[in-house]
């Protein structure tokens, strides 16, 4: 398989996953802002947090203006010049798919192409009129539909493997950021712990990664930060957890190593990350500092992305 093809397919899925993550982040911020009677009236905390999670706080600041609901949603969802906006992600995803038209199934192509064509009909004005949640749900459903169609129609070949890698790296990044920022933003307000705000905040965090019910199922307990972190970082059976993402990343990379019989540094890096996630315990992680732990994972994940690019997409 050509390196360029692997690159395009990997980014196709990364962009689709990023669009979905963006919709999740915005959806939760929106939900929180509607519950702001519980203590954060008039503050833009939620929207600033959304910018930080999305890694767009600096580029937003360059635009000037306060982080109001309208400004942040417009920037993260529609700004064509923000490369991380939902608009830009679906466009880039579709461009990558278009270049690889012959490598993916027509169903998968039609799914991403339709998503992009429909995206072009949305605008800030339209979404404001029709309701934000409808739009965020639409993005999430489109992303899930695309992955589902790919899963249901594509041959399990290298094309599919690189698509999966794109999804998993992006998802791990997104989960780590959401947890890191929320934890950072939420925990200092110690007075709120156990209070209503706390409940809604952590609940919203869980909802943003579709984990609210799963948490209840697993822990049968009130929402406690330690357990939320455990679920999102260490539980292998939760599909958006770091552990689950890296388990599959390693599986795919090991397969590629076997089939090409080459020594890829990226495989070793992923294996070492998985080992940590498999044996670390949440108490120890909190003792050492969750923020430090997550920062480390986010950095390693970036390094892994670069290593995958070097190994597979830019061979010399």
């Amino acid at each position: 398989m050509l390196s360029r093809a692997a690159d395009n397919l990997y980014w196709l899925n990364r962009y689709v996953e990023r669009a979905e993550a963006m919709a999740r982040i915005l959806g939760v911020a929106h939900r929180m802002s509607m519950q702001s009677t519980h203590g954060s009236v008039g503050r833009n905390d939620e929207w600033e947090a959304a910018l930080i999670i999305a890694g767009c706080d600096k580029s937003f600041a360059l635009h000037g203006g306060p982080a109001t609901r309208r400004a942040v949603i417009d920037f993260l969802a529609f700004a064509p010049d923000n490369p991380s906006s939902i608009h830009a992600c679906l466009k880039a995803g579709r461009e990558n798919a278009r270049a690889m038209r012959a490598q993916i199934t027509s169903e998968a192509w039609e799914s991403i192409n339709a998503a992009w064509l429909e995206m072009r009909t949305f605008s800030m004005a339209k979404v404001e009129a029709d309701g934000f949640s409808t739009f965020f749900d639409w993005v999430r459903e489109r992303s899930q539909l695309f992955r589902g169609v790919a899963e249901g129609t594509m041959q399990r070949d290298d094309a599919y493997r690189f698509m999966r890698l794109g999804t998993l790296l992006e998802r791990a990044d997104s989960t780590a950021r959401i947890l890191d920022v929320k934890y950072h933003v939420l925990l200092p307000s110690a007075s709120d712990i156990g209070g209503a705000v706390d409940y809604y905040q952590w609940g919203a965090l869980l909802r943003s990664v579709s984990a609210f019910r799963i948490y209840r199922q697993i822990y049968r307990d009130s929402i406690r930060p330690l357990k939320v972190a455990e679920l999102l970082v260490l539980r292998e059976d939760f599909p958006r957890s770091l552990h689950a993402c890296f388990a599959e990343i390693v599986q795919i990379l090991q397969y590629l190593r076997e089939s090409y019989r080459r020594d890829y540094p990226s495989v070793r890096l992923a294996e070492s990350m998985l080992l940590k996630l498999r044996y670390d315990q949440i108490d120890m992680i909190f003792t050492g500092g969750l923020h430090e732990y997550l920062t480390n994972i986010i950095d390693s994940n970036i390094e892994l992305g670069a290593a995958i690019a070097r190994d597979f997409m830019q061979p010399n």
């Binding site: 050509l2 390196s3 270049a99 038209r101 192409n113 690189f162 090409y260 830019q314």
Partner: protein
């Protein structure tokens, strides 16, 4: 002048038929190759064609989506209209055409080898030296470069027009990167889906093996330094090229990688493609990229779509480029009048396929004749293309003709002139029903270890009444081209030497 009609016997032909020509047998007024088709058509319900055309529209719109996705706007321009009435060629006619095509391409390859090496044809004075050596399409870098099998144009598309029963003329040779073969294959696919019953009644020689024949030709052309089974790839300028659909299609059909310049890297004069399993050596490159853009180290320095160093690898015998570099000089309009002479010079044979009679205006006699007959001639600029530097006498005003006359007198060597031909017409399904429309034909000639011509080609049709312009940009469409099989012979299918 009435144009030759491919299906219906005109009054002239009918008088011929009374003298005992074979086409007088069977359904009256229909030429032999169309007889089975006509019988089927006559028996079919009246609205059948209209319905099938609707189906065809749907079918092609679906295929059309495939064409259209490559452009953001103006997508429909890429949808070339498809006509559901086939253009039919008899087995005997085809055999003669095929012999003529092979002969012509063989001579063109011999010519290219000669002018980049011994230059015998120039020393013999058969072609004026400056016409070659000062030609913009002559590539000096190719001088004395040894290439596999001395074959330059592995894939040639020869444009033919017909004017009478046994009169085919070569309109032009395409020796660089001829396109359109995907339409030949897609059109047949569509026809077989639309008219399965028809294919049961008329024995049409298949064309579906073209990708196999092409792959075999490319493998045959492996460079001297290739020891193992050659790795073949198709080099495309990229997704924005108008023929990108065809590149994807052919790569897919042949099961080879479709690469762009950035996918290839040259190390120590060896060409590799970047794959997820590391660098993989490439031996034969079917490149759909013009010479100019191929290697920024040698040709256009601003080429972003080429492969730096690939020409060095080519000269070192480590890769075959298909077609070779520098083939453009063989299909230049100024060289075209000399192709019949090439056939005589290299093969010692009389050309089977004739050129359109051409006046070479650097020759005083031809110039004199042309200036006297401008209103009835077509004058073409030799290095021009796309009809920009062109005069169509019968369709021009006196003032236009005089203006062009001045241009010719100022620089006669820049022009050739030809009579306007009465291109044959073929029944075509238009708004008003079936009506005659002008057609041309581009068969594809493959030169590897053997020469292969798949029985068929791309028939282009001028959909506007009376129009002679078959280009898709100016209202042209395409048709499926049927070569009939002989009852007791399958050699048409094989397409090998006669």
């Amino acid at each position: 002048m009435t144009a030759f009609d491919e299906m219906d016997l005109g009054p002239a032909s009918q008088s011929q038929s009374q003298t005992g020509q074979s086409q007088s047998q069977g359904s009256a007024g229909v030429r032999a190759p169309y007889r089975d088709y006509k019988r089927w058509l006559d028996a079919a319900p009246g609205d059948m064609l209209a319905r099938r055309r609707q189906e065809a529209d749907l079918l092609f719109r679906r295929l059309g989506i495939t064409f259209a996705v490559y452009g953001e706007g103006g997508d429909t321009e890429r949808l070339i209209p498809f006509d559901i009435v086939p253009r039919i060629i008899a087995a005997k006619e085809w055999k003669r055409l095929r012999r003529g095509l092979k002969q012509r391409v063989k001579a063109l390859n011999a010519f290219l080898d000669d002018i980049y090496h011994k230059r015998e044809i120039l020393r013999a004075g058969t072609i004026p030296e400056d016409l070659i050596l000062k030609n913009a399409a002559y590539v000096n870098h190719m001088r004395d470069v040894t290439i596999a099998r001395q074959t330059y144009t592995h894939i040639a598309g020869i444009d033919l027009v017909r004017t009478a029963e046994n009169e085919f003329y070569v309109l032009e040779d395409n020796c660089r990167t001829p396109s359109g073969v995907s339409y030949m294959l897609e059109n047949r696919e569509a026809m077989m889906r639309l008219f399965p019953d028809l294919f049961a009644q008329v024995r049409v020689a298949p064309v579906g093996h073209y990708p196999d024949a092409l792959l075999q030709t490319l493998r045959d052309s492996a460079p001297p330094n290739c020891e193992d089974e050659p790795t073949v790839a198709l080099l495309t300028p990229g997704v924005y090229n108008s023929a990108y659909f065809e590149h994807v299609f052919l790569a897919e059909q042949m099961g080879i990688e479709l690469v762009e310049g950035g996918d290839l890297v040259v190390k120590d004069d060896v060409v590799y493609m970047r794959t997820v399993g590391g660098l993989k050596r490439v031996d034969v490159l079917y490149r759909r990229l013009d010479d100019d853009f191929l290697d920024p180290k040698v040709f256009r320095k601003d080429s972003m779509i080429g492969v730096p160093g690939i020409f060095g690898a080519y000269k070192a015998g480590n890769i075959t480029l298909s077609n070779a570099v520098g083939t453009g000089v063989a299909d230049d309009k100024s060289i075209y009048p000399y192709v019949p002479d090439m056939v005589r010079f290299y093969l010692g044979e009389e050309p089977i396929l004739a050129n359109v009679p051409t006046y070479v205006l650097r020759r005083p006699d031809d110039l004199k004749y042309t200036l006297e007959h401008l209103p009835e001639l077509v004058v073409k600029e030799v290095h021009g293309s796309g009809g920009y530097g062109m005069l169509v006498g019968p369709k021009s005003t006196a003032a236009e003709i005089e203006a062009f006359r001045a241009k010719i007198i100022a620089k006669p060597e820049a022009y050739i002139a030809q009579p306007t031909l009465a291109l044959s017409t073929c029944p075509t399904f238009v708004e008003s029903g079936i009506a005659p429309r002008h057609v041309d034909l581009r068969p594809f000639v493959l030169s590897g270890e053997t020469m292969r011509v798949v029985p068929g080609g791309l028939t282009r049709v001028a959909l506007r009444e009376g129009s002679l312009v078959v280009n898709s940009s100016q209202g042209g469409g395409t048709k499926d081209t049927w070569v009939l099989e002989e009852d007791d012979s399958d050699d048409i299918k094989a397409g090998e030497d006669d």
